[in-house]
């Protein structure tokens, strides 16, 4: 699966903590541990956009990894 566009609402749900997923990709989990907290502290559109860009970037640069593919299926179906 290609990494879905940053405009997909699931990215916002992910970084705001609105939805919680059982993820596999370690780098994304560690990153999200910080980003979800960052958005809770500063829920501005600019910060949400920045956090989406960071997590999208981590998934996009590791798209060939089996755990990334599992996560994308978990998040986007």
């Amino acid at each position: 699966m290609d990494v879905p566009s940053m405009s997909r609402p699931q990215w916002t749900d992910l970084v705001t903590g609105k939805k919680t997923y059982q993820l596999k990709f370690l780098a994304a989990k560690i990153l999200l541990g910080r980003l979800v907290h960052s958005v809770k502290e500063n829920p501005t559109p600019a910060n949400i956009k920045s956090c989406i860009e960071q997590v999208y970037n981590v998934y996009a640069k590791n798209a060939g990894s089996p755990s990334v593919q599992e996560d994308l299926t978990t998040i986007f179906g």
Binding site: Q22, L26, A27, I30, G33, R34, V58, S65
Partner: protein, 333 residues
């Protein structure tokens, strides 16, 4: 792929054959090796398939990644230069970093890596080099650049490996510790030590809190990073100064809990592998485990198959971890 304890002569033969090696051993044996495609760090504790946990100053733990690496580059980075460690990793590969314990690079990486540019965009694994516990305070931990023969007690060595086509690398962890059912602990500042802690939101002196609640400091603090459990190990408590020291930094905004006890590391390890980890031994190309697990769980003479490797003063799976086994898998895709 070799992951085994070897003599200096056996290791030298592999180096001279042009193999790409990750090495761990006492400083005296690493200094005897010829130049070549290798990086190394000082430590005399290992887990091997044949002997389990052991301490030896005479032999070297050899991890041979020749079979998966199409090409490698070995670089040295100072504390500031480590900020590029994710961004400059090979596009289709992985990086292995070794940093000497208590160096500026160690402290800087521990505190700042989560905020380095492009955190997590390339697989990064590694470890913190150390010394025999009898040599603590007498000998400094070192890292070695095999290409130049340099031995560094400040800075880091990084092996950047581009994988052969059709392969992809993944970094994983095995952490037997889970958050206990106690208080939620948060800290007002990032750092390797803390005087103040917020216990369920109420400000307290952390040293006094630990003493009053009789917390077993062999068990780490555990943070839940979106399901990834990350430990912070206790180094010591100064009751006079009211200060608690850690082997990795605590971070503001992260909620920590004291870990549940693990009755038998070996049994828990087996159960974890059977229940949680879906690993194929032939995919694991490198792993290392923590000196505190080795000591507190009595791993001398015990095996943690399929994982073997150096016993370290800190583990790196993207960022610095404590009391955790980290491993690198290479998949065929």
């Amino acid at each position: 792929m070799i992951q085994d304890i070897m003599t200096v002569a056996e290791t030298a033969k592999l180096i001279e054959a042009g193999n790409v090696l990750l090495l761990a051993g006492d400083e005296a044996v690493l200094r005897q090796l010829p130049k070549g495609n290798w990086i190394g760090g000082t430590i005399p504790y290992f887990i091997s398939h044949a002997e389990g946990g052991l301490a030896t100053r005479d032999r070297i733990f050899v991890t041979d990644v020749t079979g998966v690496a199409q090409s490698v580059e070995i670089v040295e980075r100072d504390a500031n230069g480590l900020a590029k460690v994710y961004a400059e990793g090979p596009q289709e590969g992985f990086s292995v970093v070794i940093i000497p314990a208590l160096s500026k690079a160690h402290l800087s990486f521990a505190l700042n890596a989560p905020n380095y540019k492009d955190f997590g965009v390339r697989p990064l694994i590694g470890w913190i080099s150390g010394v025999h516990l009898d040599d603590l305070g007498k000998v400094t931990p070192k890292v070695f650049n095999g290409v130049t023969g340099n031995a560094l007690e400040e800075g880091a060595v990084v092996l950047q490996a581009t994988l052969k086509p059709g392969k992809v690398a993944e970094v994983g962890i095995v952490n037997l510790f889970e958050q206990g059912g106690g208080d939620i602990l948060t800290f007002p500042a990032d750092g390797f030590s803390a005087k103040e802690v917020l216990v369920n939101g109420e400000k307290r002196n952390f040293a006094a809190y630990i003493v009053k609640n009789k917390l077993d400091t062999r068990l780490p603090l555990v943070a839940d990073y979106y399901g990834a459990l990350v430990n912070i190990s206790f180094q010591g408590i100064d009751e006079v100064e009211g200060e608690v020291k850690f082997y990795a930094p605590v971070f503001t905004g992260i909620r920590y809990k004291h870990a549940k006890p693990v009755a038998d590391y070996g049994e828990a390890f087996k159960a974890c592998l059977e229940n949680k980890c879906q690993l194929s031994e032939d995919r694991v190309v490198f792993s290392c485990n923590c000196i505190l697990n080795y000591l507190y769980s009595g791993l001398e003479g015990k095996k943690t198959d399929p994982f073997v490797g150096p016993i370290t003063f800190g583990e790196i799976a993207y960022q610095l971890l404590n009391q955790t086994l980290v491993y690198l898998e290479v998949h065929d895709v």
